[in-house]
Symmetry: C2
Subunit: 173 residues, 2 copies
């Protein structure tokens, strides 16, 4: 019955990272071992998911520069992404986890910081039953082609855009 | 800063309920009080989310008949939805929770088991800071019009449909 899936949550809408956290919620209920790597949030981030994961004993490693490419230092962001990918790759190949989430990796692939073929080759070499979830905007077509399950989160209505409401604690943060 | 949102996760794709669970994960990390009502899963269901929620002290009340309308007894499903909605309404108006998730309610609205105006009127009467998340396919237009944040989860690729792979424990169950 166990069939390791490569799952991609992409699109401009909300819910890409959040749905990955939802999988970790379910999986924790089944005593599965899960782990998340975050390509945008910075080391030491203390958002809701970090606080929850700490209480639950789920490792989340944030290793980004906290910025999107438009606002940040592009070279630093790229270097951090390469470093973090090396740790992801090791975790995938070591194979101790049931589910590994690579949060915002799609973004790092889109900007060419990490080569897509390296990621696909690593995914091919993973243990048979391991699920890997990749989130982020702009998932490259090669990744979509390789993945098993791909969902596009589309905005129908967005309060920050439409009504000027700030991001809410516990919902997004 | 706290601005209670009505959030709708709809569409044919994966991640509607899962993203709601992800919000509960984050919110739990911030010691917010959350609660979920489920309109399709049956009382006593022991999926991953129920197991996790029990360990975390998050109430999930499942009160559906376990079937979609095509396969089940329509009258029984409608009666169960009405009963469960009465309890949701009470929880919303009592106002003790920071976030209430009405899982698969959109489905019950679409089939006319619960009148959309009743739901919108209840949402209007909720405490100012309360967030309510409604999931399910076929969210009615009136609900979309009233909501603050609406996301359409769209299928790009689906392994159960495309490859005949069964639902995976810890991912979906």
């Amino acid at each position: 019955m166990r069939h390791g899936l490569v799952i991609v949550n992409t699109g401009e809408g909300k819910g890409k990272t959040t749905a990955a956290l939802g999988v970790m919620f379910r999986a924790w209920g089944r005593d599965f071992q899960t782990r998340m790597f975050q390509f945008i949030k910075t080391a030491g981030a203390r958002f809701g998911e970090h606080r929850a994961a700490e209480k639950m004993g789920i490792p989340i490693e944030a290793g980004g520069d906290g910025c999107t490419v438009r606002s940040g230092d592009r070279e630093q962001a790229a270097a951090l992404a390469v470093e973090l990918w090396a740790r992801c790759r090791e975790a995938i190949l070591t194979g101790e986890d049931d589910i590994i989430v690579l949060d915002e990796l799609a973004y790092a692939l889109h900007y060419g910081w990490i080569p897509v073929p390296d990621v696909i080759e690593t995914l091919r070499q993973r243990p048979e039953g391991m699920h890997v979830i990749i989130t982020g905007r702009y998932a490259p077509q090669e990744l979509i082609d390789y993945a098993d399950l791909v969902t596009d989160m589309r905005v129908i209505k967005h309060p920050y855009r439409d009504q000027g409401i700030k991001a809410q604690l516990g919902i997004e943060l």
